[in-house]
């Protein structure tokens, strides 16, 4: 958690220093303030390390709650809340508890920028706890206050999908499209220089927005438009080395086809997701399609394995030096099973 957070803070700091928050730059950071900041950073780092070592979700949440209790209104608020919400709505299955926590923190937050972000999280939790009227009211309030960024939209979209509030999913995904571009991505991450990455991440935003938009249309009985949107979304998907993309697109699309009785179509769309995704949703969907086709899930494991063999790409071997400056040709290992890991020292 710590490393990801430090990268995020670096990005946010750079954003702030580019004058995106006029007014705060005028206050010269006195020595005392700096010392307090360092103290806070130390406290956060300590908590973060304890969090990483914690064995249970209960313990993790307790650490975050303690931290938020003592420091509710700091640069670490968003991140601490993010993790608390994830743990509480995830493993602990306690969205009401998460909701209460966000409300408590919100009461203590004075920084207007931060307040807005916490309110977005509150809106998300309205969705997760079925408080749809409150969600709509809060959204209207927030939209009047300022422009949402891409992640604000995405947070609302995801909670609206869970809550099956399709009108909201449609509205928010349409609104998010304007920010689903490489330019908008670059504006959010001005210190990122890798143009290829900017292009890719910008594009993938579009793919995600269109996927959600398509699914909303399908659920609003506008299937044809939904399917057309899925096809459009496909053009914005970037695939990994194994030909996979972590996106809801193919799961939504497969579900649509399955609903229409096109079992083979559904299977074709969702097999890669079933094989390569960390999430189990694709695999569950594939099993569903398999059962629809075959009457039972007998033979499903064999079916999955055969597809894995069929879709597996060939490893393009290469040679690289080791730390004794000898060239190692990975082609020499053909005939062995190889685990190839990519890393960098932290």
């Amino acid at each position: 958690m710590l490393r990801k957070f430090l990268i995020l803070i670096a990005c946010l700091t750079l954003l702030a220093s580019l004058g995106c928050r006029p007014g705060t730059q005028e206050e010269a950071t006195g020595a005392a303030e700096e010392a307090a900041d360092q103290e806070l950073e130390k406290t956060f780092k300590a908590m973060s390390e304890a969090y990483d070592d914690a064995e249970t979700a209960e313990e993790k949440v307790r650490l975050l709650r303690d931290f938020l209790d003592r420091h509710p209104d700091t640069e670490y608020t968003g991140y601490a809340l993010h993790h608390a919400i994830a743990d509480m709505t995830g493993e602990l299955n306690d969205p009401e508890g998460a909701y209460e926590l966000v409300r408590t923190v919100l009461a203590e937050v004075e920084d207007p920028e931060r307040q807005f972000k916490v309110k977005i999280r509150l809106a998300v939790l309205h969705g997760k706890t079925g408080k749809l009227d409150e969600l709509r009211t809060l959204l209207a309030e927030l939209a009047a206050e300022r422009e949402f960024d891409y992640y604000d939209h995405l947070g609302i979209i995801e909670t609206a999908v869970e809550a099956e509030a399709w009108d909201l999913v449609l509205e928010q995904s349409e609104a998010s499209l304007a920010l689903a571009t490489p330019e908008a991505f670059k504006a959010d991450y001005p210190d990122m220089e890798d143009e290829k990455k900017i292009e890719r991440y910008g594009k993938s935003r579009r793919g995600i927005s269109l996927a959600h938009q398509g699914w909303a249309l399908v659920n609003l009985e506008r299937s044809d438009e939904g399917l057309a949107t899925f096809r459009e979304a496909q053009e914005s998907i970037t695939y990994s080395y194994v030909g996979f993309a972590e996106t809801p697109l193919y799961r939504y699309w497969a579900r649509t086809l399955l609903q229409d009785g096109d079992v083979d179509g559904a299977i074709e769309l969702v097999t890669r997701d079933a094989l390569y995704s960390r999430e189990s949703e694709g695999r569950d969907l594939l099993r569903q399609a398999y059962v629809a086709k075959n009457g039972s899930d007998e033979g499903f494991d064999g079916f999955l394995w055969n597809h894995r063999l069929e879709l597996a790409r060939t490893f393009d071997s290469f040679s690289l030096p080791n730390y004794d400056d000898e060239t190692v040709d990975l082609g020499d290992f053909k005939g062995d099973v190889m685990l190839l890991a990519f890393w960098f020292p932290t």
Binding site: M338, A341, W343
Partner: protein, 102 residues
């Protein structure tokens, strides 16, 4: 998959024809070697090259670090793993065993 956890897997299955290869991508030699030493890692460690000779870019590109692949005896990329999570070790070991059985 955390690198130190690969060492026991390497020791356990190497005799059945199993290789573990770690490719370091930032060319931070000193840091890398320190890490290898501190953790007593004995499997293959390679260093990525720059520019046109960079192999990491394509294989890691969209995913990011840390990414690993399990390749079978015929050179097919059968499994991929991104990041570390609880339970990954067991998963990976099962996959290795399956590929070793052929």
């Amino acid at each position: 998959m955390e690198l130190p956890r690969l060492e026991p897997l390497w020791q356990k299955y190497r005799d059945q024809g199993f290789q573990v290869v770690a490719v370091e991508s930032t060319r931070e030699r000193e840091e890398a070697q320190k890490f290898i030493e501190e953790n007593n890692l004995t499997y293959h460690f390679l260093e990525n090259l720059e520019g046109d000779d960079d192999v990491v870019g394509e294989m890691v590109g969209a995913e990011g670090f840390p990414t690993s692949y399990l390749i079978d005896r015929e050179g097919r990329v059968m499994f991929s793993h991104f990041g570390f999570e609880k339970g990954d070790e067991e998963k990976i070991e099962k996959e290795i065993v399956k590929l070793l059985e052929g």
